[in-house]
Structures are given as C-alpha cells and as structure tokens.
Symmetry: C2
Subunit: 234 residues, 2 copies
C-alpha cells in the first residue's frame, strides 16, 4: 500500500497513527514530491485534491481519513483501535468526528492569521475574525470534553482507540491557536481533555503523531518567517 | 430507542433511512416539541444542540449521523446497508462523506438565499455569494460522480448501502439550489449521479426519505412566504 501524506496534515496523521499502531508496511509519499495537491500527477490519483489518499495494492484509491481508518480496522483487525462494544465504538466515532469536523473546522477559520501557509503572509490578528471563530472552537472543545470518558486512561475507557489517534493529530492545531493568537488555556480549562493530552507520552504511537504534526508546524513557521519576514508572530 | 429528528434535516433523514430499512421501532421526536434545539430541555439531552440524536434504552446518547448509522449496522446487522467486502464498504463510507461534508457544505453557503429559515427572510440572490459557493457544489458533485460505481443499480454496485441513503437524503437540497437559484442541471449533467437519482423510486426506503425531505422543504417554503411575504422565489 501507498499513502499520500504530509506531516503538516492532521487528517493524514490520524491515518498514520493507525498504520504505526498496526505495524503495517506502507510507502509514505509527500504530494510535493510529484508536484503538489493541485498537480496533474496528483489529480490523476485523486481528483478531489486532498490528502490522505491510500492506494491499495490492486490500485483501489481510498480517500477521506475516516473511511481509510475504518478500512484499516476492517482489513487488519488486530491490534484494534475500534472497541468491541458497539456503544464504545460509537463513542470513539463520535469523538473522532467532533475533533475532526468541529474542532478543526473552527481552527480553520483562525488559520489565515497563523504562520502555516506559504501562499500568503499571515493576516494581522483581527478581532472580528477571532470573535467569529474562537467561540466555535471553545464550544467544539466543550463538546469533546462532554463525550470523553470520565474514567480510564484513554478517550474511551481503558482502550486506545481511533479517537485518541484523532485527538493527538489535531491537538497541535489547538496549541497553535493558543500560542500564535495568545489564547492560552483553551485545552487546560477542560479537565478531562487536558488530562488526556498530558498522557499522550505514555502511548508511543500518540506521542509520535503528536510530535510529527507539532514539529511540522514549527518548521513551517520558520519557512513562513523566511519567506514573509519577521512580522510573523513568535 | 428514541430519535430526535426533523423532516427538514438531511442528517436526520440518513438515520431514518437505516431505521426504516431495518424495520426498527423507534420513537421519533421533533425537537420543536420540547422547545427547539436551543432549549434547555434539548441541551440537557445533547449540549451539542444538533440533530439527529439517538437515545438508547439504557440512556446512552449518540450524536453525529455517521456514528449513529454505523451503530445501527453494528447492533442490527441484518438487513445490512454495509457491504461485506472492505473495499466496497470503504466506497460506501467515502460516498456518504463526500455527500454529507462537501455537497451539503457547499449548499450551506447558498442556503441564506433560499426559503428554508424562519429566522430571517431569504437574502436577495447575490452573484458574489453564488460565485463563492456554486463552483464548490459542482466540484463536490463531480467528486461523488467519480466514486459512484460504473455498473450496478446502486451507488456501490448491486447492493443498497448507507451511501444511497445519504444521497436520497441530501439530493433534495441540491434540487432546491437548482430550483430556487435557477441553477438547472446540476445533477442532470452528472451521468451516473442522475441515473441513481432517477432510480430512487425503485427502492421504497430511498423514495420515502427523499419525499420526506422534499416535502418538508416545500412546506417550509410556504411558511417562509407566509412570514416574510411574496419576495420569496417561486
């Protein structure tokens, strides 16, 4: 199998977490190595123009992180990131969606002010934009907090699931909002959520994807600064 | 089980399709009957404030249409809307997401110009807004077309799946863009997609959710007209 992926993409990181956890041999390819997401070469593989893309050995192309993560569970059920109990399984799926759709959706609205794109300099901090999207982010984090297990070491009780993988992949973007926009404490004020984040280090696969995304963001900030100058927030 | 649902909600319609198909006895409750999505009564059930919400007999609360649809497959596997082959299963999940996230996401941007809300009169047709969102809708429909099976009677080969249920639930909103904004042919120009839509009538459960959403939109247009006057597009 081949995975088109990038260290900066939290959607790709969720899938990499499954691959690492299951110990699969997958060739990892950066879209930039074939001309980028908008290139004819990449569009020939996936006209949707997004990553992650998983290419199966028979040539089947799978897109959308959730569908890929479920496919890996269906085909490589051991070790599993999907609980056996259907209610816990639903809880893991709900949390993954709450993180991917609403937490990241709110972060997206704040992203233009942050040093993550090489296509444009970060726009200046803008109260209107912050006021439009920050409450959505807080609400999205509240919703995650609401559905996290009250007990146990992971998002869903005592088992590592796809929800933990999603959380470790997307939390670096919440940290970036805290750091770049000066909105400290977004995670800290959520007791269960901050407890989970503090314990990523106890699970190598979570620490690994968390570090990959965090380091890629750090590196990107350097590239943005080199390209657009020092106006970029420290 | 109880489902909080509304006929106007395509997200709820996807879940109702699964319930109808499996012949489950589920109490259907409109949020308006307990004060609406923003009411304390509804927020006590689901602080996220969205439908659908499935309440299990043990009191467990499930949200997010995709997680609920998967839960129903996990717990009531027969009859199934989930293919046995993992690649086809992935195809059904991909198509559901492409419809729910990107087709409906693009429609959302056009919604303020359409007679669907009782909170405000439809805003006048605005070229800027149309130019921002219509190409996204066309692209989203192109992506669905790309992943539809080339052969067979359904989205994924010859089996009715969750992807057909999603399509039948969301297509009324694409029809509304065609009708209310004069953007005819959005579906017609996609050969496989229009073929699928034409055949909803052959599958009672698809026709049923399609009609429920379509009729609810028609009714809502009447309510919007009664409230805000005749400026509403015919």
């Amino acid at each position: 199998m081949k995975l088109y992926t990038s260290p900066l993409s939290p959607y790709s990181a969720r899938v990499r977490a499954s691959i690492y956890f299951k110990g699969l041999t997958v060739e990892m390819i950066k879209p930039s190595s074939i001309g980028g997401l908008a290139s004819p070469a990449f569009r020939a593989i996936s006209p949707i123009g997004k990553i992650p893309v998983l290419v199966l050995d028979d040539g089947t192309i799978l897109v959308e992180s959730d569908a890929i993560v479920e496919y890996l569970e269906d085909t490589v059920p051991t070790p599993s990131l999907r609980p056996h109990d259907p209610r816990l399984r639903a809880q893991a799926r709900m949390l993954s969606r709450l993180v991917e759709l609403y937490v990241m959706g709110a972060v997206m609205g704040l992203l233009p002010m942050m040093p993550v794109s090489l296509h444009h300099a970060p726009v200046p901090r803008d109260h209107k934009r912050v006021d439009a999207h920050l409450p959505q982010l807080v609400k999205a984090l509240d919703n995650v907090e609401h559905y996290l297990s009250k007990e146990g070491s992971f998002c869903v009780g005592n088992q590592l699931t796809t929800a933990d993988a999603a959380l470790a992949s997307f939390v670096p973007y919440v940290h970036a909002v805290e750091r770049y926009l000066g909105e400290e404490g977004l995670i800290e004020r959520h007791r269960l959520l901050s407890g989970r984040v503090k314990r990523f280090g106890e699970t190598p696969v979570l620490q690994r994807v968390f570090d990959e995304v965090s380091n890629a963001m750090q590196e990107r900030r350097g590239e943005v600064r080199a390209k657009f100058g020092e106006a970029v927030p420290a």
